[in-house]
Subunit: 478 residues, 2 copies
């Protein structure tokens, strides 16, 4: 077995591993990135990018179906599943290509292929062929779809999101199990592309939403478009001649489905388990996860860092990239660790209408016993949303009763990906509700619906709106 | 002639007049709003709302035409001009109805119909039937389309934007003269709705754009969709049997057009001239416009205030509403005038791609001799824009060389209405470029294209990016 000594070893060449590499290289050239799978990130290969490509086709199809309200008639719409998937894959490959080329440009000596496992706190063994002794180690090993083991007997009729993006064409029918981000996004997109789609979840909880009012909005729009069973327990799945038979139990009774495929969108699992972390000598919590700081990436006080989906902290690309930058920088400067500011939380689900959470969630505010008020507004009669025929959804905004500060929001509605930026930036920069109301709102825009919610929030705040002397947006009837 | 004495008279019941009324009523019930035309605002009747409704239909038609790239085939698209216009008018009438009902709810004694003219600084005469003696007067008389007088001979073949929204159906062809906001929005929308459209401008200047690079982007996308003559001088217009003949001269030579209609989008003119302002005894500038403060609405030190489009200051609904609130409040508290903060400037043009200006414009920065740097980014290869097939346009962001503060931006590109809010709020709250880069950017979103421009701006700033200790978004290759 070959032995190599490096300053820094990075396990995983995904988003977190890549940003960690770039940050660490500022400190040393003695560095090695170990990748167990293929190059290309989860985001580019099977996550953000291909899902958004599929959704773009689905939204186009949906817009064509609703063209009639604008006075435009379409006699014959045909979804060419082969071409839909061709674009998804071609564009996906282009995004993956960018990642591959970035890694190609790394010095050959900085890369190693194979599965790394800890043998002691400073030593990794890779596929039995290489022993690596590293001053610091960054764990950025990513995650994989989690599938209930009994379903594996379905063979090629059991899919995870990765498989969808390998399709030659679209199937006729599918049961999507899981109402998290992936289940909702893919379920709605497939339904809009003409695939007979059943979506099953547990507890009628949708994606990252925590506000019960907003959760209800998500349930409403999904159930209008596909066969939704929001709180169903899957009892049995079976391979049939033509596909899959699935039976489930829900409050109203029980049901069974015959579909071409079952798509398991039942969450993702950290790849931590495969690293023999016990040999690393770091502190683990009751569930076997390492105890680490989100602000430094450091596990305990050790020379080992963790970044990206592998940590289970926040499976979002932009957070993984920050994780990597922070961990890579701290691995470089170790033992002189620096704590980094984190960005204000922002989550987006690219359904239609979109879902967005910015800042503190409703659940966090309750859990932290914050004294907060809520402002709410529907998009149903919101001017701009109605003009473009996208007047669905609702927003709830949260403000601090003592300081008047804006705390966060949850939303189902049009352009939520953009509203999410406006609102998370407002939280990050410590704006009060009144400062937001004094900011520009164009006309006619969807942001005016947000303003309505903020005005209602402002009236709910016990401190009351600022006197007219100090603000522009607090006249009567404003 | 009847004589009435009131504390406050407001000339005009449009957007500015209505907000002025609401603010002034906080101080007095002795108030009268005089409207010369029909109730309902410029915005709702002939401006923002109906134009956005027409654009919504046009964008739908355009999306159908580009469905092929997503793998969706549409055999037969038919634009039913009658139904297109029906939706525009029905929804427009709904918006107008909200305005009308708001005014219906005002006490009858607060309203008067007719044309008001000054007879002395405290007296207005309305259509010769009523003399009003007012303690304070707010001028919110609005504006009207300006048309070159020789064109009037075209009779019903000469249109202004108001007329478009009265159409029963769509014409076959049109010449739109003027490349301001109205000309661009209506010109592109009509072209996309199958109307053979010619768009003629002067000096190849497009809407409010001042940055020459962004102006070039606007020229590019418009010339790809319709017959654009960006710098043409209209020589002669003539009524023909079937419509209008128009001849023009431009750099390349001369041309002539035969069209059903000529739409004059040649700017708007203040209604100030009809008020006999000379009798009001206020200071006028060289062009006959009153000298007033944007921050108080007050003309000189007088008891007369001005608000909305009539002032020529900024013909935008949200500014008119603020004008009215400020003028109404100050008329109420006169002579104790309060200066109000104004919102950061924001302009949006609802073409596709959209156009946006936030904060200081390129021209203002040059004029004010600000020491600023520019960051630029194209949307052509921007991930999210490409995914949704809207990868056109460019953004330029401006930052202060001394403070690192973000100053403003001009943009042609996707979702500019939303980016405009994010960036104008950033200016309003005094963010530095680095603070913006440290804010959340989701993935994949159009805002990442803005981040690219901000990163480039950050590198151009002589003060340089903040050291890694203070920021998240300044790693190598970030």
């Amino acid at each position: 077995m070959q032995t190599r000594q490096v300053d820094i070893a990075i396990i995983g060449a995904g988003t977190a591993g890549m940003t960690a590499y770039r940050a660490a290289r500022e400190y040393t050239d003695s560095i090695l990135v170990i990748e167990a799978g293929v190059y290309g990130t989860t985001c580019a290969r099977v996550g953000c990018m291909p899902s958004k490509l599929l959704i773009a086709a689905a939204e186009t199809s949906h817009l064509i179906d609703s063209a009639g309200i604008f006075g435009i008639d379409v006699a014959d719409k045909r979804i060419d599943g082969r071409r839909v998937m061709e674009r998804v894959k071609t564009e996906r490959d282009r995004f993956v290509g960018f990642v591959e080329r970035a890694i190609e440009n790394w010095p050959q000596g900085h890369k190693l292929r194979g599965k790394a496992v800890f043998t002691d706190p400073h030593t990794l063994e890779v596929d039995g062929h290489t022993r690596i002794q590293a001053g610091r180690i960054i764990i950025a090993a990513g995650s994989r779809p989690a599938v209930p083991p009994p379903w594996l007997e379905l063979g090629d009729r059991l899919l995870v999101n990765d498989d969808v993006f390998g399709w030659e064409t679209l199937p006729r029918s599918i049961a999507v199990v899981g109402t998290g981000v992936i289940g909702m996004e893919l379920g709605q997109a497939l339904a809009r592309l003409g695939v007979k789609t059943h979506l099953l979840g547990i507890g009628s909880r949708f994606g990252p939403i925590t506000d019960p009012v907003i959760n209800g909005e998500a349930q409403d729009f999904l159930s209008g478009e596909l066969d939704l069973h929001g709180d169903a327990s899957v009892e049995r799945v079976e391979r049939t001649e033509s596909g899959v038979a699935l039976s489930f139990v829900e409050a109203g009774g029980s049901g069974c489905l015959e579909v071409d495929y079952l798509l398991a969108a039942t969450g993702r699992r950290s790849n931590l388990g495969a690293l023999n972390l016990e040999a690393a000598g770091v502190a683990l919590d009751a569930t076997g996860n390492p105890i680490f700081s989100l602000d430094s990436g450091q596990i305990g006080n050790s020379h080992i860092f963790i970044a990206g989906d592998v940590s289970n902290a926040h499976p979002l690309l932009h957070e993984a990239a920050d994780d990597g930058r922070i961990a890579g920088d701290n691995a470089g400067r170790y033992p002189d660790i620096r704590v980094r500011p984190r960005r204000t939380p922002l989550s987006v689900v690219f359904t239609d209408p979109q879902i967005m959470l910015a800042g503190k969630t409703h659940a966090q505010l309750l859990q932290d016993k914050v004294d907060f008020a809520i402002g709410e507004s529907s998009f149903e009669d919101q001017g701009r949303s109605r003009v473009i025929g996208r007047n669905r959804g609702r927003i709830r905004v949260y403000g601090d009763q003592h300081s008047g500060q804006f705390l966060g929001a949850e939303m189902v509605g049009p352009a939520a990906e953009h509203i999410g930026h406006l609102l998370s930036w407002s939280v990050q920069h410590g704006l009060t509700v009144q400062q937001m109301l004094d900011s520009p709102f164009y006309h006619p825009v969807i942001e005016e619906g947000v303003r309505t919610a903020l005005r209602r929030l402002s009236r709910e705040l016990r401190m009351g709106p600022a006197p007219m002397e100090n603000c522009l947006d607090c006249g009567p009837g404003a």
